[in-house]
């Protein structure tokens, strides 16, 4: 650690070391002089990669699980679909949506409908907050666990 606080780390140095890790296949580089040193470590992904590639092809989800939504899969405010079905964003065709991005919602408010086997199931806000993202559009099919929106 530098004794003198700096506003900016030596990013180029770290980039260089990171590139060197890649180039040389090393796991770790420590580099220093006097009271200064830097150590970079690359997590080896060996078995994880192996586990995910033994099959030649991967099924495409039948329905639109957006890549964008996947990155929010662990978000604490995520509302995930509790069932397989078709999403409706408004109570009736032609009416305004239950919610739009930026709206404040209160826990228990209806935020969507999901139709499954001709039954329209209201989806309620699991917490109060602001609608930060909406991942689906009306009449989109969704699978179990698919991200619907984020309430922060």
């Amino acid at each position: 650690m530098p004794k003198q606080p700096k506003s900016a780390v030596d990013a180029d140095l770290i980039r260089t070391l990171a590139d060197l890790l890649d180039e040389t296949g090393l796991k770790e580089i420590e580099y220093g002089s006097g009271d200064w040193n830097v150590r970079v470590v690359r997590e080896s992904a060996g078995t994880v990669v192996a586990a995910s590639t033994p099959l030649a092809s991967t099924a495409q989800p039948a329905i639109g699980a957006a890549t964008e939504a996947e990155t929010f899969a662990d978000h604490p405010g995520l509302v995930a679909s509790p069932m397989v079905g078709v999403v409706y964003t408004s109570p009736e065709p032609g009416q305004p949506s239950f919610v739009k991005v930026g709206d404040q919602v209160t826990e228990g408010d209806s935020i969507l409908l999901i139709e499954a086997m001709k039954v329209f199931n209201p989806i309620k806000a699991p917490c109060s907050g602001r609608v930060a993202r909406i991942f689906i559009g009306t009449e989109d099919p969704v699978e179990y666990g698919e991200p619907l929106m984020i309430i922060e």
Binding site: P54, A59, A62, V84, M117, Y144
Partner: protein, 449 residues
């Protein structure tokens, strides 16, 4: 022919169905639980939809979720595999109400064969021999005693709603009857919520021999020979073979003809299996399974028919296109069910697969959804692979099975491969001299019946 089939199952059978569909140019939709997101059938299917959490009741038994998935993905037909919803008449009705084709028999036939007493009556009416027993349900100890005296000891008391050995008790003589009857009723109530029981003669050393039936929607029915499934532990089949070491061609033709004729008379379609107990040259009906069986590959090996393809074809309305005389029975096939369990204690052994190397070469077929790095979930059945071996005769088949078991590598968990290696070397098995109690004696277990 169908454009897209929803596969309402998991594991090796989902992969089996996926393969048959692709070989027919049919697109596939895998539905799966969250625990199976990385499963091989999900990866190899054309499309996949997660239908619920790991527990089977919320996913693979979730009729609404499966029907929703079929709807939103525009599937034409649903293949149920075995287990789960494959013999659920209510599900079949719903599938058809929603305009999909159920790849299997009608709801009516599933309902009929699901009721063990009604099934027995129905097949008896169309010429299939049944075990001597009560005319129907036996209510009360007095009736039980009278029936037992009539059909002769030993007798078996079975739950009407039963299956898998639960609610099933034997009495060797009048002195054992009362306790056996009361235990059977209690278990029936506990297991099925229905205390109704029936009784029949208990056979001392029977073999379990079943006939594979295939029927189309036009009245064409063939039998595809028998499978000897006598090697069972706790009523679960462990090894199956075809032909049975106990049957000759004349017997096969005779019983096969009776079974096929009966199936034709009741108007059944799709695949089905008529299960018999065989003792001293006599066959007695046990039950009819109205679905694809786990052990169907041994029949495929000796008849060279693709049973899943045939199931899909007849479900689409196509006629069989061949008759009984066109069905060859050549060679000898044995299937080993490989479970993720300790081969001595039979305790389940879920875990992550390390090295995985299935055997190859002539006459060897492996049906398994395993791959190196796959995590075997603990939520489902412990069967992880089926090894099916074909030889030109039983001895060649046994020798090939021995070498194939020796090549099979499944690291990372315990499997029943060592048990199968012992079985294949056991003189009684090599000689074909076994009955439905043999395996439990071999592994040192007492029968619970």
């Amino acid at each position: 022919m169908f454009e897209k089939i929803l596969i309402a199952n998991r594991g090796e059978i989902a992969l089996r169905i996926n393969r048959a569909c692709h070989e027919m140019g049919i697109r596939t939709l895998a539905v799966h639980s969250t625990a199976d997101a990385d499963a091989m059938h999900v990866r190899l299917a054309d499309e996949a939809i997660c239908i619920g959490p790991a527990a089977a009741r919320d996913s693979y038994l979730n009729q609404q979720a499966i029907l929703s998935a079929a709807t939103i993905s525009n599937a034409d037909a649903i293949h149920p595999g075995y287990g789960f919803l494959s013999e659920n008449a209510e599900f079949v009705s719903k599938v058809e109400e929603h305009g999909f084709v159920f790849i299997g028999p009608s709801a009516q036939h599933i309902r009929l064969m699901g009721d063990k007493i009604a099934a027995k009556k129905a097949v008896q009416d169309v010429g299939i021999p049944v075990v001597p027993g009560s005319a129907g349900a036996v209510s009360g100890l007095d009736e039980a005693r009278a029936v037992a005296a009539e059909i002769g000891y030993p007798v078996l008391i079975k739950a009407s709603a039963g299956g898998g050995g639960r609610g099933m008790k034997a009495a060797n003589n009048a002195g054992e009857l009362d306790a056996a009857y009361q235990t059977a009723v209690s278990e029936a109530v506990a297991s099925f919520g229905n205390g109704e029981v029936y009784m029949e003669r208990y056979l001392a050393r029977p073999r379990h021999i079943e006939f594979q039936i295939l029927a189309d929607h036009h009245g064409n029915v063939v039998h595809l020979g028998e499978r000897d499934c006598s090697l069972q532990r706790r009523h679960q089949k462990v090894i199956e073979e075809s032909p049975s070491p106990a049957l000759n061609a004349t017997e096969r033709a005779r019983i096969g003809h009776i079974a096929a004729a009966a199936v034709r008379k009741i108007g059944y379609h799709s695949v089905g299996t008529v299960e018999f107990l065989y003792e001293n040259g006599e066959f007695f009906f046990i039950e009819m399974n109205t679905r694809l069986q786990v052990e169907h590959p041994v029949t495929e090996a000796i008849t060279r028919l693709d049973l899943v393809r045939e199931m899909i074809r007849v479900a689409s309305g196509a006629p069989l296109g061949y008759s009984q005389d066109d069905i060859p029975f050549n060679g000898h096939a044995i299937e080993c069910r490989i479970n993720a369990e300790n081969p001595d204690t039979f305790l389940p052994s879920p875990g992550t697969i390390g090295d995985y190397h299935p055997p190859g070469g002539l006459g060897v077929r492996v049906d398994s959804a395993l791959y190196s790095g796959y995590k075997v979930p603990s939520h489902y059945d412990s069967m992880i692979a089926k090894l099916i071996v074909l030889g030109s005769n039983r001895n060649e088949c046994l020798m090939r099975l021995k070498r194939a078991l020796g090549e099979y590598v499944i690291d990372g968990l315990e499997t029943s491969i060592p048990l199968h290696q012992k079985l294949v070397a056991a003189p009684d098995f090599v000689n074909g001299d076994y009955d439905i109690h043999w395996l439990e004696k071999f592994v040192g277990l007492k029968e619970d019946g």
